[in-house]
């Protein structure tokens, strides 16, 4: 019977992307890609406005 610890010990160490001198795990690459997507979305998605916000926006300093 396969125990949980045996499965952990036999688990692969992960997949890596090799590009010249650059070596990065697929997991880390996916996280960086997700951060880039989140950054672009933060620039493009409109920010919700509350009912009490003036039409021209908030305080002008």
């Amino acid at each position: 019977m396969t125990t949980f610890s045996t499965v952990l010990a036999a688990a692969p160490s992960g997949h890596y992307v090799q590009w010249g001198v650059i070596s990065i795990s697929v997991t880390n690459l996916a996280i960086i890609g997700g951060m880039l997507v989140l950054f672009v979305l933060a620039l493009l998605v409109p920010f919700p406005r509350g009912p009490h916000d003036r039409s021209g926006g908030g305080e002008q300093r």
Partner: protein, 223 residues
């Protein structure tokens, strides 16, 4: 009568109490410590990542304190310990994701403009101190992963001649760096960073109208 005169004289000349009170009072402009309104340009998701980083940092500190109460045998074997351990890891992951997104946003809008150099510098220091805190956290897991990382790191740290007083093969020293010294450093520098943001206001986008003259006057001498 002598006492009254002495008190009045000290008040006129000033002492460390009055000096500190004045400094604290003038640390941020009136009403800007906890403002309930912001300039219109702040209505963008790109401005959310700073406070998201602070929220994640609070989660990191709370779960870290919980882990410290339980101890290694608790977080390695119990279900609740595993859960809190995972919360500590993932709040740290989110802290770094939000902090890097905050860094990208502030970098591309040149957030050091308008006498905000020190704000930028304290942010950089907070980032570097956070990396050190996360590193010592990996060394404090008390498992084979921690052993592997420490043996991989020792040569690099010895090569830059700091291994004698920052010894990654000493788990107790690394644990104390992780739970005392570095959290204090990160907490203090983040506090200074937030105070500076409130002192100078949120940086406007590059193409936005610059601060009004009264704000510029209010910023005179504030560094």
């Amino acid at each position: 009568m002598t006492t009254e005169l002495r008190t009045a004289g000290a008040s006129e000349r000033g002492n460390w109490t009055t000096w500190l009170r004045t400094r604290l009072t003038r640390m941020v402009p009136p009403g800007q410590a906890l403002p309930d309104r912001q300039p219109a340009y702040v209505a963008s998701w790109i401005y959310v990542f700073g406070v998201a980083s602070i929220a994640a940092l609070l989660a990191v500190l709370l779960t870290g304190a919980w882990l410290a109460l339980g101890g290694a045998t608790w977080w390695h074997v119990s279900n609740l310990g595993h859960f809190v351990n995972s919360m500590h890891l993932w709040s740290t992951e989110l802290f770094f994701v939000f902090m890097v997104l905050h860094l990208w946003g502030q970098f591309w809008m040149a957030a050091w403009r308008g006498r905000r150099t020190l704000t930028w510098v304290t942010g950089v220091i907070a980032f570097l101190a956070s990396i050190g805190t996360a590193f010592t956290g990996y060394l404090s897991q008390s498992n084979f992963d921690a052993q592997w990382i420490s043996t991989q790191a020792k040569d690099g740290l010895n090569a830059v001649a700091i291994g004698a007083w920052f010894n990654v093969l000493n788990p107790a020293q690394m644990l104390l760096w992780h739970v005392v010294l570095l959290p204090l450093a990160v907490g203090l520098i983040v506090l200074v960073h937030v105070i500076l943001v409130r002192r100078h206001g949120v940086v406007p986008p590059i193409d936005a109208e610059q601060d009004r003259p009264e704000r510029a006057v209010a910023d005179e001498g504030r560094h």
